[in-house]
Amino acid sequence: MKPIISLSPHVHGGDSVQKNMYGVCIALLPALVASLWFFGVGAAIVLATSVAACVFFEWAITRFILGRNTLTVCDGSAVLTGILLGFNLPGNLPVWIIIIGALIAIGVGKMTFGGLGQNPFNPALVGRVFLLISFPVQMTTWPAVNATDATTAATPLSIMQEAITSGDASVLSKLPSLQDMFLGATGGSLGEVSALCLLVGCLFMLWRKIITWHIPVSILGTVAVLSAILHASNPVYAVPTQVLCSGGLMLGACYMATDYVTSPMTGKGQLIYGVCIGFLTVIIRNWGAYPEGMSFAILIMNAFTPLINTYCKPKRFGEEAVKK
């Protein structure tokens, strides 16, 4: 007998990177179905292009530029980045722009830092923000729901921004009904419209222990509280329920901010992270130049994650006893 020797432990819980990545992909399925439902073929093209491009670029860069032989595309992270990037884009975005976005997301946002686990910023958001700044017109022209032609429509966020800049609260009456916003029958990027589907997916991830409650609750909670305060002070600001269902807030809070690599490692750190993201989102949305502040808020807080990790250590066993 030639035994295997190793140090303990000799068993493993069976968790894997694939399980977690594909688990998030499964959680995104309801939102995927919603995007196809509301935006039709356009959504299919955008998502397919995004995923294919992300996977291709990761394979190509790993193989030819980094010179590594191991196949990392199978671990599901490139696929997930592709889906999330696609969800952040309008359904009528030209294919060549999507490909550039994927190249930036994977190439710059992930591979330049060394690949999986090394990136300080969320790759999908890096790609999205790059596209937003480089192609502002295409990135802010959304197709109407169930549009068969190339009609474009205003999104809830653009209506909210109009209300604030004009100082006229009656503009808010142009918002779709809360039911429509919750279900997803509004204009917007592919994945952000249906709050219901996103919440279902989030509950799935919590059940499978892929994410913990800290980040989604702290972000949504902070935004809700701040929106309530703002609305109470001045009716030009939308009602909290409308704010929560608008724009990329739900998508960002549950899927983008909870990205393992770029979020803090302890519960306390995650709560601080989430509260700050909530603050920044509300500030940028209401007083910034852009209607949507979620992407920037998350990227800014990504930069603070290492600092949060340094100062938010988990509670050591026996710590209290020492303090006494």
């Binding site: 007998m1 303990s8 000799h10 068993v11 770029t262 066993f317 026996g318």
Partner: protein, 449 residues
């Protein structure tokens, strides 16, 4: 239900041998008694080649205060005193005895009648500790810390209660479970003895909730033993870790090293140790045998064997159906903290609580992937540490930062590596860091003097 508060994981229980009553293993042909069966100074042989020994004859005396004597578990002639490969994987001194018959020392009481503490008014605290020391009792949970040292609180500390570790949180192992089902009263008397030894009136027996029959039986029997309370505990690993058990049962957390359980008033002993103490004090029987679980998914007959110390593992596995064809790994102990063995020729020692045979499929680790910073290891760590960080610091040789991040508090339970989705060898590297940092701390303390 009570439990420890930080971290923990849920490995599959696989208690394959839970229903197998304890059976006596056959005597070996040759028994090998390692001089290193305990923490502390090695034992010193007092016999020579050719000496005749009986069961219970002293083979080696303790090598210091933190040490324990070794007694023969067989009768026969001393073959030689030589260095052999023992369960540690290294070659160390041992006394080797050729077995002839099964003659016991006359002083040992082999009767099965129960002797309670009330039957022995002559026993006082000092006598009990002395008997335990002379019997060579060490921690039977696997740590093998000399018992009498734990029962002698250092000056300035006082014991407030005794906690018996009957948790057996390691998957596969069932020795303690069966011991409780088959010898509940002897265990309770043993607990009484420990309580008397450290002069406390409160004793707790912590049992994990996956042993409801043992909880029921022990609770019933404990009614006759005032001061002893059975505490059912949540099934979570490492519920049986000394510090975690104290946290669960009495809600006190032992601070970081150099603090030890006695600093929070707790004296923790394994339930097998309590049984051995009963036998030593009431029956004059030194530590010469123990219950070991021989188990594994491919093992034909997973069993709990009452085996004599010094029996080679090969023989024990033969008594359970032989070594399976597809064996990949042989582990001394449980799968979370046990030691992988190079061969089955190593002898059983005082700390051998289990022999686990893993088949080839289970035995191999998956290929490690980069750390994805999921923080699952942080959630799993029962000591509130950050395994991903400690592992990284150890591989970068950043000893100072590792020390600041409390690497010496690691209890090496393996929860982090068990949980890691990237299959990273976290504990491998943390161990390297821990030994190096402990060495640095020792050198620093020595330099100060």
């Amino acid at each position: 239900m009570k439990s420890f508060h930080i971290g923990g994981v849920h490995p599959a229980e696989n208690k394959l041998s839970a229903g197998s009553p304890i059976r006596e293993a056959a005597l070996p042909r040759q028994a090998v008694f390692s001089m290193f069966q305990h923490i502390g100074a090695p034992a010193k042989p007092v016999v020579q080649k050719g000496d005749t020994v009986k069961v219970g004859t002293l083979l080696a005396e303790a090598g210091g205060f933190v040490s324990a004597p070794v007694y023969s578990s067989v009768s026969g002639k001393v073959n030689k005193i030589d260095s052999v490969v023992d369960a540690s994987g290294t070659r160390r001194m041992a006394v080797i005895v050729d077995v002839e018959g099964d003659e016991w020392e006359e002083t040992i009481d082999r009767s099965k009648s129960l002797v309670r503490l009330s039957d022995r008014p002559d026993l006082d605290s000092k006598t009990i500790v002395e008997k335990i020391k002379n019997a060579g009792i060490v921690g039977m949970g696997g740590a093998t810390f000399p018992c009498h040292v734990k029962l002698t609180p250092p000056p300035g500390s006082k014991a407030e209660c005794v906690i018996i570790n009957a948790v057996e949180c390691e998957p596969y192992l069932t020795a303690d479970h069966r011991l409780m089902l088959e010898h509940p009263e002897e265990i309770l008397v043993g607990v009484d003895l420990i309580m008397k030894a450290v002069n406390v009136t409160k004793g707790y027996i912590g049992i994990e909730n996956n042993k409801p029959d043992a909880i029921r039986l022990m609770t019933e029997k404990a009614k006759q033993y005032p001061g002893i309370e059975v505490v059912p505990l949540k099934v979570k690993y490492p519920q049986g870790g000394e510090k975690q058990l104290i946290d669960a049962v009495i809600g006190r957390q032992v601070p970081a090293p150099p603090a030890i359980p006695i600093n929070v008033g707790a004296v923790v002993q394994n339930v097998g140790t309590a049984y051995a103490i009963y036998e030593a004090v009431m029956k004059n029987k030194p530590l010469i045998d123990r219950v070991i679980t021989v188990t594994g998914k491919s093992v034909r007959n997973p069993s709990n064997l009452l085996a004599r110390l010094g029996t080679p593992f090969q023989q024990l596995i033969d008594e359970c159906g032989g070594l399976p064809e597809d064996t990949g790994k042989v582990i001394g102990g449980g799968p979370m903290m046990g030691k992988a063995l190079l061969s089955l020729d190593v002898p059983m020692t005082k700390g051998s609580s289990g022999l686990l045979i893993m088949n080839k499929k289970e035995a191999r680790r998956a290929e490690p992937q980069p750390c994805i910073r999921c923080a699952k290891c942080v959630s799993a760590c029962p000591m509130g540490l950050e395994p991903y960080l400690l592992s990284k610091l150890a591989s970068m040789e950043e000893w100072e930062t590792a020390e600041k991040n409390d690497i010496v508090s690691c209890i090496e339970c393996g929860s982090c590596q068990f949980t890691c989705p990237s299959n990273r060898p976290l504990l491998d590297m943390i161990r390297v860091g821990k030994t190096t940092v402990m060495g640095i701390i020792r050198n620093r303390a020595a330099a100060k003097k």
